[in-house]
């Protein structure tokens, strides 16, 4: 989640009354913002991705003013009809079809504000812009541009001086050589013409979504801004533009519209018109467990910076354009709760009619666990994801029907295990300095490819045990196996000679009950012990608990 720094001085300047540091710190969590760090000069906070309008102190102050009761209802924004035209070329439609724009004049830009604008831009890029793929923002010094501005496409040998560079570079070079080119170039990898914004004198404003031109760079001498947003989706572009407009307005700018035309179709941006939604007072009371009157609901919404009006006996919410998170009536219910104050909601007790109960299968696993503990085994818990090395190479097993995961961040976690005992051998190998004898067991799911399952993969529970000490042997393991089966499941068990590459030839058997094959038991082969750097003999058995439970159910 994105993090911003809120400086008390700045917040104080934006709040319409005197508020102490402590009051800020206490109130912030009730805006849905998490406090990360409280320092002398500032607090570091984390805001949720549904509230991109919290990406600057202006946005947070706007909501705080409401919550403290210093301002109420939706703020209003006046946008003067501007003179700048933005002409869109048809060729952009296949590459990055949407562009919206805004002019902000008369701003006093200091380093702090520039920093805040850039940080907001980054947060919007990463959040609703989905790392610039869906939407990206260019902010320019209007005074060095000669409108009209054209949004068009160019081939890869087109040259200009990119931001923070001194020499001209062509598009191909920018994509290959600059950091931003390498990071975001993939967004344009399907195209051979590239989007560009240029003015009437062919000066380059930006090459979206990669980089701006050096010419229009912001400095502390800049006071008039030209803002363009290119996108693949009109909704997202307008959302971002509204947030920028509201923020720049609160920072003291005068907003002017831009006429964006593509052939005969003309759109004037930004569109700051508010969203209207009927308030469902009953729903609010039902969901929150309150009994608020229409008046109280209205007041609560106004504290959340949402205006209300009565139309034909209905209560209508007027939601400012920068609130991009209100999709449904329930979102208004939450706004009521914010305005009412989450700190005023007290818990209520519901009584239960029914008795609770555990899952039957897991309870039976619990019985097996109880017997293993009684037999003196220590339970271990391993990851379901294991390495190829442990699952196959060290144990000599042939990789048959393994389930892989895509792009794991660690190679220790690449396969879903289809059997547990290799993990137990790994546990023993990490514990060679601990006292012997060592007796461990694990109960966990394993994953087997199975065409009959709807996901193609069957998940079953296994139980595996391992014993290690200087005289560990087959008989000891079998004694424990027989005990597990009789004590837990009242089942007889047979051990039929077999061959298995992880075990000593002649000391390994299939575990069977009646006609059902249930698992394997044996002494681990010395070569496998060597692979795990084990110095004591190890015996193992592993059984399919899910299958055993099937047998028991059939018997019952």
């Amino acid at each position: 989640m994105p993090v911003i720094e809120l400086h008390y001085d700045k917040l104080k300047a934006l709040i319409k009354a005197d508020v102490s540091k402590k009051e800020f710190v206490d109130k912030i969590p009730y805006l849905g913002i998490t406090l990360e760090e409280v320092a002398d000069e500032y607090m570091k906070v984390e805001y949720n991705p549904n509230r991109p309008d919290f990406s600057t102190s202006y946005g947070v102050a706007r909501s705080l003013n409401g919550l403290f009761g210093f301002e109420k209802g939706a703020p209003s924004y006046s946008v003067k009809k501007g003179e700048v035209n933005l002409i869109v070329d048809e060729s952009t439609q296949k590459v990055r079809p949407i562009v919206v724009s805004l002019v902000a004049k008369g701003l006093f830009l200091d380093d702090e504000l520039i920093e805040e604008i850039i940080s907001m831009q980054e947060d919007l890029h990463n959040g609703i812009g989905r790392h610039r793929r869906k939407m990206s923002i260019g902010i320019h010094n209007l005074d060095v541009i000669t409108p009209p501005i054209r949004y068009t496409t160019v081939p890869s040998d087109f040259k200009f001086v990119p931001l923070d560079h001194e020499e001209e570079m062509n598009i191909g070079e920018i994509l290959k050589r600059t950091d931003v080119g390498k990071e975001y170039g993939h967004i344009l990898s399907d195209f051979n013409r590239y989007p560009i914004l240029i003015d009437s004198l062919d000066n380059v404003l930006s090459f979206p979504p990669i980089i701006n031109g050096e010419l229009t760079k912001l400095t502390t001498y800049t006071s008039n801004l030209f803002i363009e947003i290119t996108a693949t989706d009109i909704g997202t572009a307008e959302d971002a533009l509204a947030i920028l407009a509201a923020t720049l307005n609160d920072a003291g700018a005068h907003l002017e519209s831009v006429k964006v035309s593509l052939g005969n179709s003309v759109r004037t941006t930004p569109d700051m018109s508010s969203q209207k939604m009927e308030v469902d007072i009953k729903l609010a009371n039902d969901l929150l467990g309150l009994n608020l009157t229409e008046q109280e609901v209205s007041e609560s919404l106004e504290k959340s910076r949402i205006s209300v009006s009565s139309e034909d006996g209905k209560l209508i919410a007027i939601i400012p354009r920068y609130r991009v998170d209100i999709l449904h009536l329930v979102d208004l219910v939450e706004e009521v709760a914010y305005g009412y104050g989450f700190d005023r909601l007290s818990p209520t007790l519901i009584t239960s009619k029914n008795a609770g109960k555990p899952d039957e299968t897991l309870s039976l696993m619990g019985s097996a666990r109880e017997v293993m503990v009684g037999l003196g085994y220590i339970e271990v818990m391993n990851y379901n994801l294991v390495s190829k090395k442990v699952l196959h190479e060290f144990t000599n097993r042939k990789p048959r029907t393994i389930v892989k995961v895509e792009n794991p961040k660690s190679l220790e976690l690449e396969l879903l295990r289809d059997i547990l005992f290799p993990s137990l051998l790994l546990v023993l190998s990490k514990n060679i300095h601990e006292e012997y004898p060592q007796k461990i067991f694990e109960i966990s799911k394993v994953f087997v490819k199975d065409a009959r399952a709807s996901t193609g993969i069957r998940e079953v529970y296994h139980l595996a045990t391992a014993i290690s000490h200087s005289t560990a042997n087959y008989t000891e393991a079998k004694s424990s196996l027989v005990s597990l089966f009789s004590q837990t499941f009242d089942l007889k068990v047979d051990t039929i000679p077999t061959f298995h590459p992880s075990f000593i030839i002649g000391r390994v058997a299939i575990v069977r009950s009646g006609k059902f094959k249930l698992g394997i038991i044996g002494e681990i082969a010395p070569v496998v012990l060597e692979n795990f750097r084990l110095r004591n003999p190890v015996t193992v058995y592993e059984v399919d608990l899910s299958k055993i439970l099937d047998i028991i159910e059939r018997k019952a």
Binding site: G32, T34, R51, R130, D233, G235, D286, L288, G289, L290, L327, H328, L329, V330, D331, V333, E334, A337, L345, P347, T348, L349, I350, N354, G356, K357, P358, D359, T361, L362, G366, R369, G374, G376, Y377, I378, E379, V380, M381, Y383, N384, L385, K404, E406, N407, P408, K409, S410, L413, L416, V427, K430, N431, E434, I440, F447, S454, T455, G456, E459
Partner: protein, 499 residues
């Protein structure tokens, strides 16, 4: 005075009778194994009855060349024997030829023989004659090693030292190495004790034979040192995380909740789409979620239900929502993921059962594609509780969670608003943990209509969920989350059950 163990008594008496000495000798004289003697000495030392002096001595051991010399004589002796056979005065080159060895060996043997005064040369060193053949001190030293293979350096008399240092110079004759020797002496207390201790017939073990025969009446059972340290034994045990899982389950069951379980591998449909998580949401990225390549789900759900979910994402469908405004893709929803939350199972349960009321829970594994570090694991346990009912409210949710926490010993709880994609309103609970402080635990909220209505769920659904590991770490006083699943046997054996 503490009662003496039979070994202690035996050793004290033997030391008093046979006198002090080296550990090995003391053991032999007391008729004990070395190990028994060591144990008895250790105990007696702690009772201040014996004194132990450890010193370093050097062992001189005969080596290969030395053994050869014992059998065949030193080279200089062999040379003199050859000379005797040839006559008492021969030409130097004849002697050299008859000695039958390398020129180096010959000249070494020649040098030694002359140094012993056994031979002399004439005629400008062309002839050699025998002058004496008395036993050299080196030879008498070698004889000491006929019976014994090794001797301590301090056992050699002064006159033998020179011969030893002479022979030790020759390669392969002797080895010299240091050893620790342990010298055992009785203290005054030890001597006094030896006088008072009598050799009575005491026995260590009461046997079935003694009980049945009644012979125990004739014997004295030796008193044991009941304060002595006994060896540690370890019981079988459940894993601490499993114990905690069981405790959490008990808490749910006592509040009237029923457990539900489901597959770990889920189509993206149930893990994300059904929960109104848009298909381009960052949480669905391969960077954060484990996908299984090359397999797609085949029986996700009914077509109606898929259509409902698809429309809800696109424009809100019949839910009254604006939707996310994008083109929903069926294929994306069929990709298989390792569930990132158990809510995938819960929401399918709600869709399948179509009940109007439910109180269900699960405590089960979830997966995130994380790099493992002190705070992150790729596999975790999630606690999840669900209450569905006609009239359930957010305040009820706060109430039921407070009760749940109370059972787990967490009495203080705060609620702050937050955001989750599939609940509205949403709250974050913060609990006070003794010896730790306030910590964020379960997130909670009421399922959005965009989640419930497409699945045919009409009543509000209260849900809460959170990680189990964070809480158990505070109980076990663990700071690195990876330690929970290291399976260090030392830790598993020692960690107490009551925490």
């Amino acid at each position: 005075m503490k009662p003496l163990h039979s070994l202690e008594r035996k050793l004290v008496l033997s030391l008093a009778k046979n006198g002090e000495g080296l550990l090995e000798d003391v053991a032999i004289k007391a008729d004990m194994t070395l190990d028994q003697a060591r144990r008895a000495i250790e105990w007696l030392r702690s009772k201040n009855m014996v004194e132990v002096k450890t010193t370093t001595r050097y062992i001189i051991e005969i080596a290969e060349e030395g053994k050869r010399a014992i059998e065949h004589g030193l080279p200089e002796r062999r040379l003199v024997e050859v000379l005797k056979k040839l006559g008492k005065e021969v030409k130097l080159d004849e002697l050299s030829k008859a000695f039958d060895s390398t020129p180096q060996e010959f000249s070494a043997a020649f040098g030694h023989a002359r140094a012993r005064g056994w031979i002399d040369t004439d005629n400008g060193k062309k002839t050699v004659k025998l002058t004496s053949d008395k036993i050299s001190s080196e030879e008498s030293l070698l004889r000491m090693f006929v019976a014994k293979k090794k001797l301590f350096l301090d056992e050699f008399k002064e006159e033998k030292r020179a011969a030893l240092s002479e022979l030790i110079k020759r390669p392969g004759y002797f080895t010299k190495r240091p050893v620790k020797t342990i010298f055992i002496m009785l203290t005054d207390l030890g001597r006094e004790t030896a006088e008072t201790v009598k050799e009575v017939k005491e026995i260590d073990n009461l046997t079935p034979e003694l009980i049945i025969s009644g012979r125990w009446r004739e014997l004295k059972l030796r008193p044991f040192d009941v304060e002595a340290v006994a060896p540690t034994s370890y019981p079988g045990k459940k894993h601490p995380v499993q114990r905690f899982i069981d405790e959490v389950k008990e808490a749910f069951i006592s509040l009237g909740f029923e457990e539900i379980v489901g597959p770990i591998i889920q189509p993206a449909f149930w893990n994300f789409d059904a929960l109104f998580v848009p298909q381009d949401h960052p949480a669905r990225d391969m960077q954060d979620t484990f996908y299984i390549p090359n397999i797609k789900d085949t029986k996700t759900s009914s077509l109606d239900l898929i259509e409902n979910v698809s429309r809800t994402h696109t424009d809100g469908g019949d839910t009254g929502s604006k939707g996310w405004g994008y083109d929903w893709k069926l294929d994306e929803s069929k990709r298989l993921v390792l569930r990132t939350h158990t809510t995938a199972v819960t929401v399918k349960y709600l869709a399948d059962t179509r009940a109007s009321e439910a109180k269900v829970f699960s405590v089960d594994k979830v997966f995130r594609n994380e790099k493992l570090d002190t705070k992150h694991l790729a596999e975790l346990h999630q606690i999840e509780g669900i209450v569905m009912g006609r009239k359930v409210t957010l305040r009820d949710l706060m109430g039921v969670l407070s009760e749940f926490y109370k059972i787990l010993g967490l009495k203080k709880v705060k609620f702050w608003p937050t955001y989750f994609p599939y609940t509205e309103p949403s709250l974050q609970s913060i609990v006070y943990v003794e010896d730790f402080g306030w910590m964020e635990l379960c997130g909670m909220g009421i399922f959005r209509p965009e989640v419930t209505l497409p699945l045919g769920v009409k009543n509000p659904v209260l849900a809460w969920g959170g990680g189990l590991e964070r809480l158990i770490m505070t109980r076990l006083h663990i700071e690195d989350i990876r330690e929970l699943y290291e399976n260090n046997l030392g830790w598993l054996r020692k960690v107490p059950l009551c925490l």
